[in-house]
């Protein structure tokens, strides 16, 4: 999938690297911390070459201690720097949970000190990573006031949202989907741009129903929409991009237009972001609803390792198509 062909295409992964590189050049307060991001360039090579370019005090390899370096990022942010920390895999964010939810998230509320920092969290399955290299931890942080959360689905959004996150005065968790790293390409503007936090994007307009999703699932939704179009069902694909804050305006106006909504995420179903979306619609758009609000999500289990299990676990394009057909006919 690509968003253009005129100029040189970059991958989702390269878009992330570019954003980091440009922000570090633009603003000397920006620096990076994480495991193996220096000489190794990071587990996914996002920061390859950065150590040479920016030196060991702006590209810090840390000891293996997520709580320690997230805490350090908070302190550095309060002193005026702009730390961007990398979780080697989003799964390990659980080790820093306390610092994120209790310190970073509440700091400004409690005593007014902003904590402008970014945590990059490579998340998601489809890479045969098993239970601890595939997690979607966004649901936990979605329920932690004081954090902003973003999850881009394209190179354009990946770059623009990371820049916006770095420039935001608040702690932002940036969920980058590992499955998309090298699979999704696009052409990026030459000039500096950001994608504002809190704005969803209609990735495909439609009139019959709305699918609301984010991350890797956006591409499944687009595939599904294409299939459905051949059957005469026009599905609107709303890419949240920002999970916190939610762009309620865009979500509500889409559903008010179509009257029907399907939430799709790769995260476990129960208590996921889809639940909040459904609840918002059931409360605020009830009169516009022409059918039940459906959710498609992973079952409530850890992410399994074996291929047939992971295949079963992950939401599929066909799941979206089937749900959309059912709902369209409602």
């Amino acid at each position: 999938m690509s968003t253009g062909t005129a100029s040189k295409e970059v991958t989702y992964l390269e878009a992330i690297s570019q954003a980091l590189d440009e922000e570090m050049t633009r603003d000397e307060r920006v620096f990076l911390m994480g495991e193996d991001i220096g000489v190794y360039g990071g587990a996914f090579k996002i920061t390859e070459g950065f150590l040479d370019k920016y030196g060991e005090w702006r590209v810090l390899d840390t000891p293996l201690s997520e709580s320690g370096f997230v805490g350090a990022a908070i302190g550095a942010a309060m002193m005026g720097l702009r730390p961007v920390v990398e979780m080697q895999f989003a799964d390990f964010i659980s080790c820093a949970f306390d610092q994120i939810t209790e310190v970073a998230a509440t700091n400004h509320y409690r005593w007014g000190a902003p904590v402008p920092m970014v945590i990059r969290a490579p998340f998601g399955g489809g890479v045969h990573g098993g239970p601890f290299h595939s997690e979607c931890p966004e649901g936990w942080f979605f329920h932690s006031p004081g954090l902003k959360l973003v999850a881009p689905s394209t190179p354009y959004d990946a770059k623009g949202l990371l820049k916006a996150a770095i420039r935001d005065p608040n702690p932002v968790i940036y969920f980058e989907h590992k499955f998309l790293y090298r699979r999704i390409k696009g052409v990026l503007p030459r000039e500096d741009y950001i994608v504002p936090i809190g704005k969803a994007d209609i990735k495909r307009p439609g009139t019959d129903l709305s699918v609301i999703t984010y991350g890797a699932m956006v591409h499944l939704a687009l595939e599904a929409a294409q299939q459905l179009a051949t059957e005469g069902i026009e599905m609107e694909v709303v890419d949240l991009r920002s999970l916190m804050p939610l762009d309620k305006d865009t979500i509500y106006s889409s559903v008010r237009k179509t009257g029907k909504a399907i939430m799709v995420h790769e995260d476990n179903k129960t208590g996921g972001i889809g639940a909040e979306l459904a609840a918002l619609l059931a409360e605020d758009c009830f009169d516009s609803l022409d059918g039940p609000i459906l959710r498609i999500a992973a079952p409530d289990t850890p992410v399994p390792f074996s291929a047939p299990l992971e295949e079963f676990f992950l939401p599929k394009t066909s799941d979206i198509v089937a749900a959309a057909r059912k709902l369209a006919a409602y």
Binding site: W57, G68, G146, N170
Partner: protein, 333 residues
Amino acid sequence: MDRAEIASTIKRTEFLQMYYYLRLTRSLEDRISALYRQGRIVGGCYTSHGMEAIAVGYASALERDDVIAPFHRDMGAFLIRGITPGEVLAQYFGKRTGPTKGKDGNVHMGDLKRGIIGFVSHLADNLPVATGAALAFKIRGERRVVFTGTGDGGTSRGDFHEAMNFASVRKLPVVFFCNNNQYAYSTPLRLQMAISDVVDRAKAYGMPGEIVDGNDVALVFLAAKRAIARARAGEGPTFLEFKTMRMHGHSEHDAAKYVPRELLEEWKKKDPILKAEQRLIELGYADEASFHEVGLRVQKEIEAGLAFAEQSPLPEGKEVLEGVFASPEEVEP
């Protein structure tokens, strides 16, 4: 350390200033305890009674630009950094004029302008944060130092380990202390760790450590000075164990029956204010009359603070909704 040595390293005004803060801390916290017993303060009420020399000593050793990430028994440090008794009492009353505007309570006071990183209840959580502040100074090449610490109990937490380790690896300008008052709530040191000197924890990080009499403000001050100088010179972090004793219950609601009375009797003799007065007299820096005067001054300031706090407005309910997120202007210079 003998008289001459102290006289040559601590100036009279410095020592008198510390004495003033010892008395101010003691009187302010005694007043807070009394207000608590009267039911006029709700929520937790942790004091540094009998341990005042630690916060007063280390905070006096810092420069204006330095930063503290204090611990829940560091009232003296807040006062020295410029939080007034009135603001402290406003904080305890949940008034809008307290440093957290009623959002948070008691010793959870933070204020970047005065170089204070706010404390969170989760013990040792502020150690990594302090380390990060020191990292910022190192990255920017500033000669500023961060002073942070936790209790003997707090040293058992993973965040203590991760902070101490990272600070050592990167030789960050931060000083860690442990306020070893023998107990963590009801838990005695022997159930907290299998070592008798907390300072041994530092060996795991190749970090120099020192045991200091935490009830002698002069010694605390000088040890802090040494550690701060080391940090400022780029030689890395130091760990200071201040030996002391918690003289009240964990919080004012706790009668601390689990503490042997003899232990308290013994430590009462080592009261930091008594000790400071002995030192001041020995040094010829002050006499009984001046102690009395300080007492009067302190009382007056506390009464004024109390009046301020009482007259201050409570926040309005809807202020709950303010401040979850910072706005861009707050971070731009």
